[in-house]
């Protein structure tokens, strides 16, 4: 049995006649310790997908199972890193991380908790800024706090909802390396949503493309058999890397044109009737 499993999941918003189906017949199996990247265009329902896995919303039909248990509500066993950081602005870096540590490990003493918080803040290289408030930090630093907060809960599975898409390219590269390093250390199961194919190839074991919505569903998956650790500069010349990138990109472009052509195809089929000449009768 897979570690995380999605079985024919459907999700839509709105009532009866105004209803839009966002996700349709989603099936996914994730093994323990795997790093999965879900790639798709914006508006294809990626965030809905991660909210479903986190349990923040429930599917209209189908099942999501974590270790054989159906997911019905959110919980700290699924650490989630939100796209817009979602840090509490009145708490310092330590305070934000501590809030989750305190909740997940209520038995720790004050000193142990502080050590735990410091360990995870150090993991994302933010120890010098541990006492700062979120508004004093840059976007990249805020996202690191968010990652530290999720990691500090020691979740079974880490859900990353476009964690780097709000950052500039350089910061992005730095954080990608950090995420890889952290993942290498404890090989936690990670599901990352992204819109960057290179990022997906660099980080993931497996890439699952999400077709454009509405009625989005998964396309055929791409394995990334590249050796780890992956070197971002050397990879640019790696024929294997190029091959995967071309495959994924051209697949996404194809489904996108297909989806667009579907949308454009609004030719009204006229009923096959002929006017009857009544005067003849």
């Amino acid at each position: 049995m897979a570690f995380l499993e999605m079985k024919s999941v459907n999700k839509g918003y709105g009532s009866a006649n105004l209803r839009t189906e966002v996700l349709n017949d989603i099936n996914l199996q994730v093994e323990e310790g795997e790093f999965i990247a879900i790639v798709g265009f914006s508006g294809s329902g990626k965030s809905t997908l991660i909210s479903l896995m986190a349990g923040l919303i429930t599917p209209d039909s189908g099942q999501i199972m974590l270790k054989g248990q159906e997911i019905t509500d959110p919980g700290p066993d699924r650490g989630i890193v939100f796209q817009n950081y979602s840090l509490l602005p009145w708490l310092s870096v330590a305070g934000n991380v501590d809030l989750s540590v305190k909740q997940v490990f209520p038995k720790l003493s004050r000193a142990e908790r502080r050590k735990h918080v410091e360990k995870y803040v150090d993991m994302v290289n933010l120890l010098p800024a541990i006492g700062k408030k979120p508004h004093e930090l840059s976007g990249g630093m805020r996202q690191r706090v968010s990652i530290a907060r999720a990691l500090a809960m020691q979740p079974e599975i880490l859900l990353l909802d476009e964690p780097l898409s709000a950052l500039d390219a350089l910061t992005r590269a730095v954080l990608q390396d950090e995420i890889t390093n952290i993942w290498e250390k404890d090989r936690r199961t990670v599901i990352m949503i992204t819109n960057d194919v290179d990022e997906a190839i660099l980080l993931a074991d497996r890439i699952v493309p999400l077709k454009p919505g509405p009625n989005a569903t998964f396309g055929p998956e791409f394995k990334v058999p590249l050796e780890r650790p992956r070197d971002r500069t050397a990879m640019n010349d790696d024929p294997e890397f190029k091959k995967i990138r071309n495959a994924v990109t051209s697949y996404l472009m194809d489904v996108n044109t297909e989806a667009k052509s579907l949308n454009v195809n609004t030719n009204i089929v006229l009923p096959d009737i002929q006017p009857v000449d009544l005067s003849a009768a």
Binding site: P76, W90, H135
Partner: protein, 371 residues
């Protein structure tokens, strides 16, 4: 952080950014630009105030009332001076009175001591009891003299202090009611729906309508002997009227703040499975503090406005009563004294608002508050 930076931050928090160029100028940072801002934001307002004074001057001498001409700014300033003098004089009198009382009490005590000694040396027991009785009487006189209070008419500054005490008492009552209610309203749609009609109907009611009701009810419930009571009756009815009129902004704002907590923050709470208590105290309340303080700020300024009206109408001690008394006096200083009161009320209102702005800035994490 350097001292300069601290001062600049302080001015920002106090809502006085107009004074920043002075600090920058003193530190020699780009003088032409600083002088330009000083001209724009300090000199121009001063000139505007000057123009106002000149216009007042010109108009005042042309209007004749039954109390004489409308006073010029100079006369009003003089009147302010004489109110200060009257205050000092009254305090001096009180001081003299207490010194005199002290001396009197001392002489009684000395007499008492004399009688006690005589009693010790008394020949017969009858004479001894007689002398002891006299000593006791003298001692009683001494304590009575010591405890005697100076019957002082409240000076202008006493009235200000009374008004401030009343407004803060009313404000505290209002906050104690409005904040918890607002939190419940924000947390529960049903509670909000239940409260909404009451809020909508009572919010626009003028203090002048509340006051008689409050006075009658306080009058009925106030059965303690006035000499033993902690608060005077008039103080309580003024404070409650202030509370009734000023609790609405805090209530509405707190409800809004609690109801509009960022959805992402709620999601964080859900993922962490925070308990209701932690969720309210760690997520909802901190996030609604800026709204709440914005409400408190409006409440306090409403309260201050209401208080003056309430005092005036109910003849409760305070600035409002002062204004009314001066009006009834109808002396040649009436207008000048009332104008002094107007400036005092305005300045105190301004100061109270500043204090609230500072508090609001201190609790708001994003540090953008409109002044």
């Amino acid at each position: 952080m350097s001292i300069k930076q601290k001062i600049l931050n302080g001015l920002d928090i106090a809502g006085l950014p107009a004074f920043k160029p002075i600090v920058l100028l003193l530190s020699g940072e780009n003088p032409p630009e600083q002088i330009n801002s000083i001209l724009k934001f300090i000199v121009v307002p001063i000139i505007a105030f000057g123009v106002f004074l000149v216009m007042w001057w010109a108009v005042a001498s042309n209007i004749e009332t039954k109390y004489g001409n409308v006073p010029t700014p100079k006369e009003v300033a003089k009147e302010a001076g004489s109110l200060i003098d009257a205050h000092n004089e009254s305090r001096q009198k009180a001081k003299d009175f207490y010194i005199k009382q002290g001396e009197k009490a001392k002489s009684y005590e000395e007499k008492a001591a004399g009688f006690t000694q005589q009693a010790l040396a008394a020949a017969t027991p009858e004479e001894k009891t007689k002398l002891e009785k006299r000593a006791a009487k003298m001692e009683k006189m001494a304590t009575k003299t010591k405890n005697r209070k100076y019957a002082e008419t409240p000076t202008y500054f006493d009235q200000i202090v009374t008004s401030l005490k009343t407004v803060f008492a009313g404000f505290l009552i209002a906050s104690a009611i409005a904040i918890p209610l607002g939190i419940f309203c924000g947390l529960s749609n049903v509670f909000m729906a239940a409260m909404n009609p009451l809020i909508q109907v009572f919010k626009p009611v003028s203090p002048l309508a509340w006051l008689p009701i409050v006075m009658i009810i306080v009058g009925a419930l106030y059965t303690t002997d006035p000499r033993e009571a902690w608060f005077e009756k008039s103080f309580i009815s003024s404070a409650i009227t202030v509370a009734l009129c000023s609790l609405w902004p805090t209530l509405v704002n707190t409800a809004l703040g609690v109801a509009s907590v960022d959805k992402d923050h709620i999601n964080v709470a859900r993922v962490l499975k925070l308990g209701t208590f932690t969720r309210i105290f760690k997520i909802m309340l901190p996030s609604s503090l800026p709204y709440m303080f914005a409400g408190l700020r409006i409440s306090l300024s409403v309260g201050w406005m209401v208080l003056i009206a309430a005092e005036m109408l109910a003849q409760n001690p305070g600035l409002g009563k002062f204004v009314w008394d001066m009006f009834q006096n109808g002396s040649s200083q009436t207008l000048a004294q009332i104008m002094v009161a107007v400036f005092t009320i305005g300045s105190i209102g301004f100061l109270l608002d500043r204090i609230m702005i500072i508090l609001q800035k201190l609790v708001s994490f994003d540090s953008v508050v409109s002044a």
